[in-house]
C-alpha cells in the first residue's frame, strides 16, 4: 500500500517535473529561434528609421510608433469602459435579465476569433462611423477585443474586495457611488491591472483586427492624427513574410521586427507589474 503510494507520488512528481521542463524547453527554444534570427538585426538605425526600398532596407520606426499608439489608445478606451461595465455587473445583488444578457455576450465575445473582430471593425468603425482605415478604427476594434478580458478581470477583482469595506463605508454615511470610487475600486485596482496586462500583450500582437481597420502596408510618415493609417509591428511581420520578392532580405527583417514586438510587450508588462506591485505594497490588508 505505502509502496504503491510512494511509487505513485514519485511518478506524479517526476511527470510534473517533466512537463515543467518541457514547457521551459519550449519557451527557451521559442526565444532562441526568434532572437537568433532576429537579434542581429537590432541596431539604432533599425529602431529609428523608416523602411526603404520596398521594405528590404531601413528600419521599422513607423511600425513601432503605430503599435504603440494602437495599444495605448485601445487600452485607454477599453479600460475605463471595462471597469465601468464590471461595476455595473457587480452592483446588482440579484442578476437582472440585462445583466445576464451582458454576461453571456461578454463570454461569447471572449471566444470570438480575432479575424471576426476585424470584420466587425470594418463594418462598424470604418464604414458605418466613417472613421476610414485609421488609427482610431484600429484602436477601437482592438479595444472591443480587449474588453472581455478587462471586464472579467475587473469583475473578479471587485468581487474579491472584502464586503466589510463596503459595509464600513456605507455605515459612515457614504453613498454607493462614493463607496465604489473611494474604497472598492482603489482596493481592486492592482488586480484589475493584472487583467489589463494580459490584454496589452494580446492587443499589441494581434494582426487580424487591424488588417482592415488601421494597418497599412507601408508608409514613411508617422501618424499625425488618429485619422491616419498606421504601420504596426505584427502586420509588418505578416507583410514581410507574404509580400514582395526579396525573401532573403525580408525574412531577417521580419524576425527583427518580432524581437522588437516581444521586447515591447515585455516592457509594457514590466511597467504594469511594477505599478501593480507598488499599489499592492501601499495597501495591504
Amino acid at each position: 500500500m505505502t509502496r504503491t503510494r510512494k511509487l505513485q507520488a514519485l511518478l506524479g512528481t517526476s511527470l510534473l517535473k517533466l512537463f515543467i521542463a518541457l514547457t521551459a524547453i519550449f519557451l527557451i527554444l521559442f526565444l532562441y529561434v526568434i532572437f537568433s534570427r532576429g537579434g542581429k538585426m537590432i541596431n539604432w538605425e533599425f529602431l529609428t528609421q523608416s523602411p526603404r526600398r520596398y521594405m528590404t532596407e531601413g528600419g521599422i520606426f513607423p511600425a513601432i510608433i503605430g503599435t504603440f499608439w494602437l495599444t495605448v489608445l485601445s487600452i485607454g478606451f477599453a479600460l475605463p469602459l471595462g471597469i465601468f461595465t464590471a461595476v455595473f455587473l457587480t452592483s446588482y445583488a440579484r442578476p437582472s435579465w440585462l445583466v445576464r444578457i451582458i454576461r453571456v455576450s461578454i463570454n461569447t465575445l471572449a471566444g470570438v476569433p480575432s479575424i471576426i473582430y476585424g470584420l466587425f471593425g470594418l463594418t462598424v468603425f470604418v464604414q458605418f462611423f466613417k472613421f476610414d482605415v485609421s488609427l482610431l478604427s484600429g484602436a477601437l476594434t482592438l479595444g472591443v477585443l480587449a474588453m472581455p478580458v478587462i471586464i472579467n478581470a475587473s469583475e473578479e477583482a471587485i468581487r474579491s474586495v472584502p464586503p466589510d469595506f463596503r459595509e464600513a463605508s456605507l455605515a459612515l454615511g457614504a453613498t454607493e457611488r462614493q463607496t465604489i470610487l473611494r474604497v472598492i475600486l482603489p482596493t481592486a485596482l492592482p488586480n484589475i491591472l493584472t487583467g489589463t496586462i494580459i490584454s496589452i500583450g494580446r492587443v499589441a500582437g494581434e494582426t487580424a483586427p487591424i488588417l482592415f481597420t488601421a494597418a497599412t502596408f507601408y508608409t514613411r510618415l508617422l501618424p499625425t492624427s488618429v485619422m491616419d493609417e498606421v504601420m504596426a509591428l505584427p502586420y509588418h511581420i505578416y507583410a514581410l513574410m507574404t509580400e514582395g520578392s526579396h525573401a532573403a532580405k525580408q525574412v531577417p527583417i521580419a524576425y527583427g521586427t518580432a524581437v522588437v514586438l516581444l521586447a515591447l510587450v515585455l516592457l509594457v508588462s514590466t511597467v504594469a507589474i511594477i505599478i501593480r506591485y507598488r499599489l499592492r505594497k501601499k495597501k495591504k490588508w
Binding site: A93, R94, P162, D164, F165, E167, A168, S169, L170, A171, L172, G173, A174, T175, Q178, R182, V183, P186, T187, K282, K283, K284, W285
Partner: protein, 253 residues
C-alpha cells in the same frame, strides 16, 4: 427609567428576511447617553435589530420591515429620510475590526471627506476623534502609515475613532470585542464607559459579564422577541422572565 429621554425607540418593529420572520414586534427604548446592552442566544436577531438602527439591513435583498424606528421625532424608515444622513448620526462598529486599506489618518477622515467637510477642519477633527478613542498617543507619529500596521485592538479603536469623527448621536457596536484579547477588550469596555458622556451606546454582546460591567440598561432577546428590558442591575439580580433567568444563569446560550 421614566424620566429619561429616549433617543431611539422602536415601535412594533418586525423584520423578515424572505420568509424568515426574524424580528417580532420589537419595542425597545435606547436612552440618551447611556450604555444599553443587547444580549441573547446566537441567532436570536441581535445583529439584525442593531442593523435596523442605521438601516444596514437595506443592503440585504428580500428584506421586509414594518413598524417604526424613531430617532427623536423622526421615523428613520419614512420615505423622506436620507439614509446617508441617518448613518452619519448613527455610527457603527463591527465585530471584526474593518479599517479601510488606507492610512490611519485617511480612515478617520473618510466620513468627513464623503460629506465634503472643509479641509481646514478635518485635521482638527481627526486628532480629536483619535484622542476620544484613546488612540492618539499610540499613532500620532505614524498617522500616514497603513491602518493594517496596527494591532487588532488598536484597529478596533481606530474604527471607533472613525465613527466618532462623524460626531454621531449614537454608536452601535456589534460584539466589538469578540475578536480581541482580554487586555484590548478591557480597554474598549473602559472606553465605552468614558464615551457615554458624549454619545449614546448600544452594544451587542455574547458576554453576560461584559453587559454587567458596562451597561446601564439591558435588553434580552430570544427567538426574535424582546423578552425583557430594564436596568441592568435589576435584571441581573431579579429577572422577571423565566427565559431571562435561564439565559443569565447560563442554562442556554
Amino acid at each position: 427609567m421614566v424620566n429619561k429621554s429616549a433617543h431611539i425607540i422602536t415601535e412594533d418593529l418586525n423584520l423578515w428576511f424572505g420568509d424568515n420572520h426574524v424580528l417580532k414586534d420589537v419595542n425597545i427604548p435606547v436612552y440618551d447617553r447611556n450604555v444599553t446592552a443587547l444580549i441573547g442566544p446566537s441567532g436570536c436577531g441581535k445583529s439584525t435589530l442593531l442593523r435596523c438602527f442605521n438601516r444596514m439591513n437595506d443592503l440585504i435583498p428580500e428584506t421586509r420591515i414594518t413598524g417604526k424606528v424613531m430617532l427623536y421625532e423622526e421615523n428613520i424608515y419614512s420615505s423622506r429620510v436620507d439614509v446617508t444622513n441617518v448613518r452619519t448620526k448613527v455610527g457603527m462598529v463591527f465585530q471584526k475590526p474593518n479599517p479601510f486599506p488606507k492610512s490611519i489618518y485617511k480612515n478617520v477622515s473618510y466620513g468627513l471627506n464623503v460629506r465634503g467637510i472643509a479641509r481646514s477642519r478635518i485635521e482638527e477633527i481627526v486628532e480629536k476623534s483619535l484622542h476620544d478613542a484613546w488612540l492618539w498617543e499610540e499613532v500620532k507619529d505614524r498617522l500616514h502609515e497603513s491602518a493594517f500596521s496596527l494591532s487588532g485592538g488598536q484597529q478596533q479603536r481606530l474604527c471607533i475613532a472613525r465613527a466618532l469623527a462623524n460626531d454621531p448621536e449614537i454608536i452601535l457596536l456589534d460584539e466589538p470585542t469578540s475578536a480581541l484579547d482580554p487586555q484590548s477588550t478591557a480597554r474598549i469596555e473602559e472606553l465605552c464607559l468614558a464615551l457615554k458622556d458624549q454619545v449614546t451606546i448600544l452594544i451587542v454582546t455574547h458576554n453576560i459579564a461584559q453587559a454587567g460591567r458596562i451597561s446601564d440598561y439591558t435588553a434580552f432577546m430570544y427567538l426574535g422577541e424582546m423578552v425583557e428590558f430594564g436596568k441592568t442591575k435589576q435584571m441581573f439580580t431579579v429577572p422577571k422572565d423565566k427565559r431571562t433567568e435561564a439565559y443569565l444563569s447560563g442554562v442556554f446560550g
